[in-house]
């Protein structure tokens, strides 16, 4: 029997691919790879196209090796991955919408990102003009006498992003939720085509505003891998500092927002004060509250001053006092626990199958964290704990967030202690003189963000793919809500906090 690892290393190797090998394999090997991942031999961490080929990012469980396999699609189609491995379904639908490549054997041929509004079909390859009056969309059926439907969105009641949720309910109990996304599709991957590096970096930083640091870092790491350059050590540490500040701000905000969706506004009031303090410290240190455009390929743009270090120590000492009180407040209030314990249960099998990352995966027993596997600088030099739980409910997702907040406190302290001196940016990026490819897997607050980039000989972006962790989390929200009451949906949804913009791209 040929293992997944051997399949990943078969075929023709593309020599310009860094840091992970990319192999162009044949039809038979593609099918074998699908069979192996559907049996749980490895994780599918990404599925995308550049218009000509389809690519799959795989993690082999046996060896922990990562690799990219590619299949050429001269006839405009490829064997469906979702046919045997359902997590690929929406990715395949998106590939068809953008590039017109068909997934043979797929069980769902409805468009996903294309709502029939662009005035063009397949904008990524051979664009054809079309009507922009909107396509009808057939939601999946839920049949039975007492069932009724509740359509929600795309404009939601709160200050949140747009998307459509179609509930089929039996009285108060949800029997089926179907998501329809794509409303915030901005065509970022096509805007990146032929873009100079600095413009592409700005676009990458705006895929999902709450993860701007993680995306900028992932893009920079991918470009640096392609060009085989190393950034100064001080820049590596400053990047990690920004990434942990972003994680902290988001986790604190999420805990407040989850409690608020169960009408426990006291926690929200205090969490939003702490979040504001983190953003203010970030602004003081790096000149922008969300730290947008601070990480660029080649380094970082702002150095940390002594004043910044003092502000961060002050922030940490305050936050380390208040977080235990938040934990008491959450843990000792039975009325909030009554809502969160047991609500929105997500089992370990689905998490494993979907390679679901971030807090959601870790609250259901999947310990994956890109800072550990594959790992990237400076994390191997810093010790830290990854949050974990097995209960898989809203409550578990709150506790994992608390764990990760505490871990980030420790990380920020160690980063400040070990901060190397020296330059923060290399002077200029080298011109590659041939086409090069790079990739990166970075742990954002929501989970692992994957970026793959192909540069042309002048160093501009030829193709770029950015995969948000939400791709493997949104489908699970549909599973989680089943059997819960409609009124618990906001709570379950907030405990996931998937990105619409990151997913819709």
């Amino acid at each position: 029997m040929i293992s997944l690892r051997e399949t990943m290393r078969g075929g023709r190797e593309i020599e310009q691919s860094r840091p992970w090998p990319r192999h162009v394999i044949d039809h038979t090997s593609w099918l074998r790879a699908i069979r192996e991942i559907s049996k749980g031999q490895g994780d599918m961490l990404g599925l995308w196209s550049d218009g000509a080929d389809v690519h799959m990012l795989l993690l082999d469980h046996g060896s922990s090796d990562i690799g990219i396999i590619s299949l050429e699609c001269p006839n405009g189609s490829f064997p469906s991955v979702a046919h045997m491995h359902p997590p690929a379904l929406r990715l395949e639908r998106a590939i068809r919408d953008i590039y017109g490549l068909e997934a043979d054997g797929s069980s769902d041929v409805r468009p996903w990102l294309d709502h029939g509004r662009w005035g063009v079909r397949h904008p990524g390859a051979k664009p054809e003009p079309s009507e922009a009056s909107g396509d009808a969309y057939a939601f999946l059926a839920a049949e039975g006498a007492p069932l009724h439907q509740i359509p929600v969105g795309p404009v939601h009641a709160g200050i949140i992003e747009p998307g459509h949720f179609r509930f089929s309910a039996n009285g108060e109990v949800v029997v089926r939720l179907e998501e329809r996304l794509g409303y915030v599709h901005k065509g970022i991957e096509q805007l990146m085509v032929d873009a100079p590096i600095d413009r592409a970096a700005r676009l990458a930083g705006r895929v999902s505003g709450d993860s701007t640091v993680a995306y900028a870092l992932a893009f920079a790491n991918a470009v640096e891998a392609a060009l085989e350059i190393k950034v100064p050590r001080r820049a590596v540490y400053l990047r990690a500092l920004m990434a942990e500040l972003e994680r902290l701000a988001n986790h604190i905000g999420d805990i407040g927002a989850i409690c608020n969706d169960a009408s426990f506004s006291l926690m929200q009031a205090h969490a939003s004060i702490l979040r504001e303090r983190v953003l203010r410290a970030s602004r003081l240190c790096f000149g922008h509250r969300l730290m947008m455009d601070r990480i660029v390929p080649g380094g970082v743009v702002d150095d940390l001053t002594m004043e910044g270090v003092v502000a961060l120590h002050a922030l940490l000492s305050g936050a380390k006092k208040i977080i235990p009180r938040f934990i008491d407040l959450y843990g000792d209030t039975t009325s909030i626990q009554d809502r969160t314990v047991g609500a929105g249960f997500l089992g370990p099998e689905l998490v494993k199958q979907y390679a679901c990352g971030g807090v959601i995966g870790r609250a259901s027993g999947r310990g994956f964290d890109a800072r550990r596997t594959p790992g990237y600088a400076p994390y191997p030099e810093l010790s830290f704990k990854v949050g974990s739980a097995h209960a898989g409910d809203v409550d578990a997702r709150v506790w994992v967030r608390f764990d990760e907040i505490k871990a980030s406190f420790g990380l920020i302290e160690r980063i400040l202690d070990k901060m190397p001196e020296g330059p923060i940016r290399i002077e200029s990026l080298p011109e590659p003189s041939e086409s090069r490819e790079g990739a990166a897997l970075i742990e954002g607050f929501r989970g692992d963000i994957f970026v793959w980039v192909r540069l042309d000989a002048s160093g501009a972006v030829q193709r770029c793919h950015l995969r948000d962790p939400s791709w493997f989390q949104w489908p699970l929200l549909e599973a989680v809500i089943e059997g819960n009451i409609v009124a618990d949906f906001p709570l379950c949804n907030k405990s996931f906090n998937c990105s619409y913009s990151g997913h819709d791209l």
Binding site: G187, Q190, R206, D210
Partner: protein, 169 residues
């Protein structure tokens, strides 16, 4: 919980003093807020936020307006869940084509008199997303805009300055 509530009574508030009005906003709004409609609405406005394709950065900062430091509600401004309850639409994003109709319908569902505030650089002219197949660009290409608050994303204090111009002037 008792401790948290008790402390709230004893501590001085975190809320910052009201910022000065933004001159540019005053000038842009001069025509839009006639006396008659102001009399009808008093000093209270209901705001409905519409994300028309933003990266969610603007939403984060709009959210921050509710925290104790900015406390938007002290100015009589509050966020509501339905456009039918709203006086002001706060629109973010480069208006994706997939959100075009939803934005128009939200505007149509908002009763007169109404104002539109476009928040962020994307809402101003499409920002970094301008020129693609999937975005319309400026919010003003879809619905009439009374006030722009620039920034990527605008900081809460800039949002506050712009918004209080709607009720004080």
């Amino acid at each position: 919980m008792r401790k948290f509530l008790f402390q709230g009574l004893l501590r001085s508030p975190l809320t910052e003093p009201a910022p000065a009005l933004d001159e540019a906003a005053v000038a842009e709004l001069a025509g839009a807020l006639e006396k008659a409609s102001r009399r009808r609405l008093g000093r209270s406005l209901a705001i409905r936020e519409v994300d028309a394709g933003s990266c969610n950065g603007c939403e984060l900062e709009i959210h921050a307006l509710g925290n104790a430091f900015y406390d938007l509600e002290r100015f009589g401004l509050r966020f509501v869940a339905s456009p039918r309850h709203a006086d002001v639409l706060l629109v973010t994003g480069p208006v994706t084509k997939n959100m075009h109709e939803a934005l128009e319908r939200t505007y149509a569902a908002t009763p007169d008199p109404k104002w539109v505030v476009a928040v962020g650089d994307c809402a101003f002219d499409g920002g970094v997303f301008a020129g693609g197949y999937a975005c319309v660009g400026a919010v003003s290409e879809v619905i009439p805009v009374d006030l722009h608050i620039r920034g990527c994303p605008p900081e809460p204090i800039a949002l506050l300055k712009g918004l209080i111009t709607l009720v004080q002037n």
